[in-house]
Symmetry: C2
Subunit: 221 residues, 2 copies
DNA sequence: ATATTTTTTTAGATTTGTCTAAATTTTAAT
DNA sequence: ATTAAAATTTAGACAAATCTAAAAAAATAT
């Protein structure tokens, strides 16, 4: 895989994210996302086309091709591994890691990334719950977050309980929650950050903030 | 402290290293060191002068001023902390760390560097034995390396023994070596990498490779 | 179907960092 | 003191990445 400039990488990565939702990516959308001007996007699309990373016909929008997606995944891999490092090892707060990772992701030594991955224990998800691509670009196709970070009215499945104390297990059994349980969050009470959740046919249940933080769910396509 | 471009930082750092030996740094020396052309150096010196980081009069060479030195030290701090990280945590070989650190040093988040420093346990020396500047730019003014990395005929002082086993201590006592002993390496036998060392008035002694690797000495201005 | 608005592209300029070739200054040699 | 050589600077060009303003194309509205 060739080396690309920081600017090229930022374009490639952002196209990747945009084309998940929108089949074909528009000049304006990309310009808006990258805080740049449509004219700059057009210039870059010409360049990425000659480098055979995107399909692009003037006025018709663009998409990454196979090679483009491979490059994008390797950038996303670096970004999320660094985010994990910053959060897990350096104890950064969640809201501080993104901007730093945005710079670190452009240090492109293959060996660095793979050794970092090993050092971190091959994590599968970054601190935001987004899946981390492995060496081959493969990753889980769902998000994994704590219940307190799950968007409302989104069906999700319990996949992990971080605190395994007997007290925790007791309250889980009482509320009818176990690995594999499908649920959604209906409401949050700002007073104590407790959540009202709904499991299939059952009546709504209330969950404390502490409990919610220790229950991890997966959701998404 | 302002932010500087990668290119500016590489110039600043290299001037710092060159002006240790040479009182005033020349255009050619810097161009040679940075693998660039003298004309490019002149251009950059004009810029660094307007940014008040160097003293520079055409044809007279240049030096970093106080602010320039401060910036240089913060770049060297980042460089050496990352080298330590790569070697200590990611288990890179010594000869692979420099090029990667050359890139990582330009990620300038202050918080990142300070948290990395903390994570690493505030190391005082990088894997090459070069001192690491602290948050305030202060550092030891000597090198610390294992005896096997000490240049020939350089007076040095034993300051650390990494292996404290009784066998180790026995052989050290027998050879009259202790913390504070002043010595120099005279010769290396390629066959088994053993070293001939000289302690003050005493007759020369031979030291095995294994032993040499565990004895650390300090030397330099 | 035409006119209007929005989107996208082109044309031309700018900034940063680099280069080569030529001019200038300094240093060294005769 | 001249002359030759070396070091440095200037002049002018170029590539990368960006911008503004104008032109062109596509989408929308009447
Ligand atoms: Mn992120
Ligand atoms: Mn980025
Ligand atoms: Mn560097
Ligand atoms: Mn080093």
């Amino acid at each position: 895989m060739l080396n690309y400039s920081t600017s090229e990488e930022n374009y490639i990565k952002t196209i990747f994210h945009l084309q998940v939702d929108n089949d074909t990516v528009t000049t304006n959308a990309l310009a808006h996302e990258l805080l740049t001007r449509p004219a700059s996007v057009t210039d870059m699309m010409k360049k990425l086309k000659t480098k055979k990373l995107v399909q692009y016909q003037p006025y018709k929008g663009f998409r990454l091709n196979m090679e483009g997606k491979k490059v994008a995944l390797s950038i996303i891999r670096r970004h999320r591994l660094w985010e994990f490092f910053l959060s897990e090892k350096l104890k950064f707060d969640w809201d501080e890691i993104h901007d730093v990772a945005e710079e670190l992701e452009h240090v492109s030594s293959r060996k660095l990334v793979d050794k970092l991955d090993e050092f971190l224990g091959y994590p599968k998800f970054d601190p935001h719950g987004d899946p981390i691509p492995d060496v081959h670009g493969k990753m889980e196709n769902f998000q994994r977050v704590s219940l307190s970070a799950l968007p409302f009215n989104t069906l999700a499945e319990v996949c992990l309980v971080s605190n395994q104390s007997s007290g925790m297990l007791e309250v889980l059994r009482h509320k009818n929650i176990a690995i594999g349980t499908k649920l959604e969050v209906k409401k949050k009470f700002g007073f104590d950050n407790s959540l009202e959740i709904k499991i299939r046919q059952q009546a709504p249940v209330t969950i404390s903030e502490q409990l919610a933080k220790n229950i991890f769910v997966k959701y998404g396509s």
